[in-house]
């Protein structure tokens, strides 16, 4: 009740403008997806659903989607394991260098993707690692760890120790306690962290370009390549629109799971 009426109205307008700004390009994208012209000209010249059919029938798009899903799922799994372990260690133990760990974990996401990408590629080349899905996964997992880590550590901070102690007290050994008490307590954090990590991996393009091998084009790579080819633009419109629409699912899920918590970017 601190804000005056005028301030509140001004804020409401600012919010409305900011939200419109966020959505305006996406709306334009949607409009273009139904435009029959192969070249992008405004205003739209007609209406067609044809590009959707083309996109659905495009094997490169389908392969790319599958690759993205695979890479995302694998990177997320690795990130879930590593992020949880790190968060648990940092939150539940005292040790030398504890402060540096969060720093180390943020680094991959705070350093520019080009740097991470080149560093990884140079390393893989140096050690003769074959480029492929696994190299993409390694690249993605590196910056996904911190997302899981931040989600989990925020939860652990709020999660009291006492239920874990109670569990041990009631006769459960460490593994049982972790499985039955700690893990359920972190479940929503893991889910929202995992979703976020997955989304990030699914959307990552720069590191992917540097770590991809033959036959492992992901969907952002496909889009990037297709943007360079005017003949593909209508299909790009459709694919981009569908991706935007699909992103509702994880957002909605994360919101449902974690309530307001998903709001924290958690990284």
């Amino acid at each position: 009740m601190v804000e005056s009426r005028a301030v509140r109205i001004a804020l409401r307008i600012a919010t409305a403008l900011a939200v419109s700004f966020l959505y305006m390009p996406l709306v334009i994208l949607a409009i273009y997806a139904f435009n029959p012209s192969r070249l992008l000209v405004w205003p739209p010249t007609g209406f067609t659903l044809g590009w959707f059919g083309e996109a659905a029938a495009n094997p490169a798009v389908i392969r790319a989607v599958i690759n993205s899903l695979l890479a995302g799922a694998l990177a997320t799994s690795i990130a879930l394991v590593l992020g949880t372990l790190a968060a648990y260690a940092v939150q539940r133990y005292r040790f030398f260098g504890r402060e540096s760990i969060s720093f180390l974990l943020v680094l991959p996401i705070a350093l520019p993707g080009v740097v991470t990408g080149i560093a990884l590629r140079t390393t893989f080349t140096t050690f003769g690692v074959d480029f492929g899905l696994m190299t993409i996964v390694i690249g993605h997992a590196t910056f996904c760890v911190v997302i899981v880590y931040n989600n989990v550590i925020a939860r652990l901070r709020r999660l009291p120790r006492s239920p874990e102690e109670a569990s041990a007290d009631l006769g459960a050994d460490a593994a049982t306690t972790f499985r039955r008490i700690t893990l359920p307590g972190m479940r929503t954090a893991l889910l929202s962290g995992g979703l976020l990590a997955f989304a990030l991996s699914f959307d990552e393009v720069i590191v992917t370009i540097f770590t991809a091998g033959p036959g492992t084009q992901t969907i952002p790579m496909w889009i990037y390549q297709a943007i360079g080819r005017p003949t593909e633009l209508p299909v790009v419109n459709v694919v981009a629109l569908v991706l935007v629409l699909l992103s509702v699912i994880p957002v909605w899920l994360a919101q449902r799971i974690a309530g307001g918590e998903a709001a924290s970017l958690s990284r």
């Binding site: 601190v2 804000e3 509140r8 804020l11 409401r12 600012a14 919010t15 900011a18 939200v19 700004f21 966020l22 959505y23 390009p25 996406l26 334009i28 273009y32 000209v41 405004w42 205003p43 372990l85 790190a86 260690a89 133990y93 040790f95 760990i101 720093f103 180390l104 943020v106 680094l107 350093l111 520019p112 993707g113 080009v114 740097v115 991470t116 080149i118 560093a119 590629r121 140079t122 390393t123 140096t126 997992a141 760890v145 460490a174 976020l196 720069i206 952002p220 889009i223 990037y224 943007i227 981009a240 935007v244 992103s247 994880p250 994360a254 919101q255 998903a262 709001a263 924290s264 970017l265």
Partner: protein, 282 residues
Amino acid sequence: MTWLHPRRGLQLRLLLAGPIGWLGVVYLGALLILLLNAFWTKDSFTGRVEPFSWTLDAFDSLITVEVYRTIAIRTVVMAILVTATDALIAFPIAYYMARIASARTRGLLVIAVLMPLWAAYLAKVYAWRTIIQGKGPLEWVLAPFGIAGPGLDEIANTWLVLSYLWLPYMILPIYASLERIPGSLLEASSDLGARAGSTFRRVILPLAFPGVVAGSIFTFSLTLGDYITPDLVSDTKFIGNVIYDNSSLGSLPLAAAYSLLPVAIMIVYLLVARRLGAFESL
């Protein structure tokens, strides 16, 4: 498990082996190799780097060739501009979400902000490209006022699009830190005689600041490294473009040496941000 119980040191080592192994060895190792590359010679024709052939040539060109300095300054200025723009746009909406909107509206707004964040990055850049380019919607809107469209070669495009792309990264941490401010603090402030303006300046702003810094880590670092957006919506070169161009063409050692610049900037940035308590707001 009984034997493990008293051995907290061992428990800890088991827990940390994975994460530290991964990031400490794979990630830092990769960065180290990149660093080494900055000091190695490369073949001028085939472009291959010769390991352990030490030279400072890459640093030499970075220092002597003016354009690298110009680009570095341009990139940092752009990162500052984008960060400031996002902070200015993000604060009101974050404030509205955290303190004014009803619970329901707040939930909807959080989704509304998260969705573009999770929507494909390239799709968004591409959407802007279609908006900005000639015969696009922007030109169409501006035409009646007799203003020409910017076309795809204005540096301002980069500023606009990057600000757009990273906006949610700024809104969410600010929102989170605003939401964490107990209502009683604001009540106490007004109880003690502060009007809304003073309360905002003296209580809300200082307490939300770590959130702004947390958000700025993203806006800043993402701007610092992006080369795709500048490439797609303008023809201006940024640090990322130079690194990218040289990593394939030209000289990998030069790319590696140039990479050290954003790395150094971000490490300093992170250290400062951590001191300001921003890590809690990430």
